[in-house]
Amino acid sequence: MEQQVGKLEQIHPILLVEGDTAHAKLVQRYLEEADLLNCKPTYAESFGEARQLLTEGRDYAAILLDLNLPDSQGFETLERFLLLFPNQNIIVMTGQSDRELGVQAVKAGAQDFLLKDELDAPKLSKSLRYSIERSSILNRLEETQRLAHIGYWECSPSEHFFSGSEELYRIIGRPYPQLLSCEELMSGKPPYTLFVDLQEASRQQGKVQKDTWITREDGQRRYVSVFCKANRLSNGAYNFYGIIQDITERKQAQELKKARNLAEQEAKVREEFIASISHEMRTPMNAIVGMSNLLRKTPLNGEQRESVMAIQQSSSILLGIVNDILEVSSLQRHQPRFEHKVFRLPCLLADLVGVMKYRAREKGLALKLDISPEVPEYLVGDPLRLNQVLYNLVGNAIKFTEWGRVSISVSLMKTEGHRVELRYTITDTGIGISRDKLALIFEAFTRVPIGNRPQEGTGLGLAIAQKIVEFQGGRIQVESEAGSGSRFYFDLWFGVSTAEQLLPPKQKDSALPSDQAFTLLIAEDHKMNQVVARKTLEQQWANARILVADNGQEAIDHLKREPIHLVLMDIQMPVLDGLEATRIIRQEMEAPVNKVPILAMTAHANFKKNGAATELGFDGVILKPFEPGQLFSAIEQCLLVES
């Protein structure tokens, strides 16, 4: 009800175009009397006057149009209006003798016609009301179609008739109202070939639908979905109507999604390829890395020793490259897990400086560490990842600095409850980076030439460091200019802790004595690998008792029979594989056997990632080919912690 009242109260501007002033006054009076419509009439005496008003952009709910004006006569008056203002709601007023003209006017596009002789207030208001409502509905429909990019058309070739909506014109790229004629449409020139084909197909099949690319009049390519239906008329001819929807954006989104899926698949294949290659590379490196270590323990002359050391250094570099490639490939696809453990920041930084000072000293550089007094000593976070980032940045700073110093500083940025935001800054007096190269230095697989120096390493270190910081919510920033040194810094949040919460550190540095007696079980199905592993371990610990199991089941049997201090577990074995054997040991065997340290031995690099091995019950992973030092260190760590 309220809605109706609202409708009645709405004021509808009406343009009255009438050459006869007496009739104009009469119509104006009828409009005032119209009780169904609240009208506000504007009067124009001629075509020119009306055109002026409409051109100024005034909006009218309806135009009451007399066809005989001083400056325009008959049907031409309507045609001129429709051509110039095709969206206007026009009601034609004719004399009794011109009834036929009125009918033609409606066919041509007028909303209604009124006979002047029969005109009264109720008839006028009824006609206006219906035409305004119809026009409003059509406008809404047109608006909806415009928003949905749907155009429609009707075509009757036998009557040389074509009519299309404004949106149709927009879709085919033709300025509206540069109206399209039926003949033009049927000429079959692009983009109208589509309509001719559709009409021909629908004549045979009744209706057709297809999605296709079209080339618009302005040359643009658009993807459209079209539907066309044919109606057979009583004279045997056909007329057609249809809709056309521009779905280019949807199509492009689909193509984009397809391309993205393809790219993801390619990335996955690449990841698998990299993992597989690294695996293949590691196997022959077993000989190079491992046996050069054994070789060093045999009697060698000076030249031979140097050669062996060169092999060791080169293979370490090669291992570093393989590990970098694996790491960056992994970080591009997966978010790593970050530890939340208590660590002592000054110790971490002192260790870092301890490692790097030799490299700095070799180049005569000063390596400075500065921790602001307000920085908490004990933090909660991932010390290994932090160390990895700092190691990378400091290593780069030393690499690209020929004189002067490299400084590491840590300062407090913010405090929120038990959390602090710390800024880590690495400054050097090195050769710097030109501004145009700054944006590229964090790109993986992008090598930025710096100075005239030969490029060392894989160039992946900064990409890895950036990813690690980004995954923790920070970002490494750089300020540098060629020849003026560099300043790298990043901010990260850490929890604040105390010394009491810090677990006793593992005695990493205490080596297991070479005469230490312990029992170690190698679960490995490959006989030759058994011999090699046993031989390597016996050379390191002469009093160690080395047991060998051919599969997981035998390993379990050994553990049931006798005390064993450590298990080296191959993953892929017959009877019972290493994963299942470890599960049984951890979940089904009784203490203390279920606590025995187990180190996984595998050539699959991915096994070491994301803490998967820990979840599966392993205390660590030794990647094959193992460096004896790495193997010994992992064994020592387990046995020292256990003791």
């Binding site: 690998n529 011999v531 090699v532």
Partner: protein
């Protein structure tokens, strides 16, 4: 293929730590592998037990570096790949044949080394 099937013991020598006893032990194990593994693989193929064939090929991969024989290592690697990615590949029986022939040729050379090593002990 025939010309390239040559035993190269440099890897085996290194892995033995240049200890003659360990070297002989590894040679004996290698001979055993070369003797028994290809027939087992052939059996799996004839039974069309492809998962078992793939397991044997994977295991053989750890053995073959001790032969230092590139074509043999390559043929076995390809076999494992084909079994993983395209088990219907017509290349599989051909690769198996290559592995059998190359293994037999290498076995003769390994046995000669064993005889030589045993006589010097």
């Amino acid at each position: 293929m025939k010309k390239e099937v040559q035993l190269n013991t440099s890897y085996l020598d290194q892995m033995s730590g240049h200890d003659p006893a360990t070297r002989l032990e590894l040679l004996l194990l290698l001979a055993e592998e070369l003797r028994t593994r290809p027939p087992s693989m052939r059996q799996c193929w004839e039974k069309q037990d492809l998962p078992a064939l793939r397991r044997l090929s994977h295991h053989y991969k750890s053995t073959l570096p001790f032969t230092g024989c590139g074509p043999l290592i390559d043929a076995n690697r390809k076999l494992e790949e084909r079994l993983k990615e395209s088990p219907q590949s017509l290349e599989i029986p051909l690769l198996l044949l290559q592995i059998e022939k190359a293994s037999a040729a290498i076995l003769l050379q390994v046995e000669a080394l064993i005889r030589q090593a045993s006589s010097t002990r």
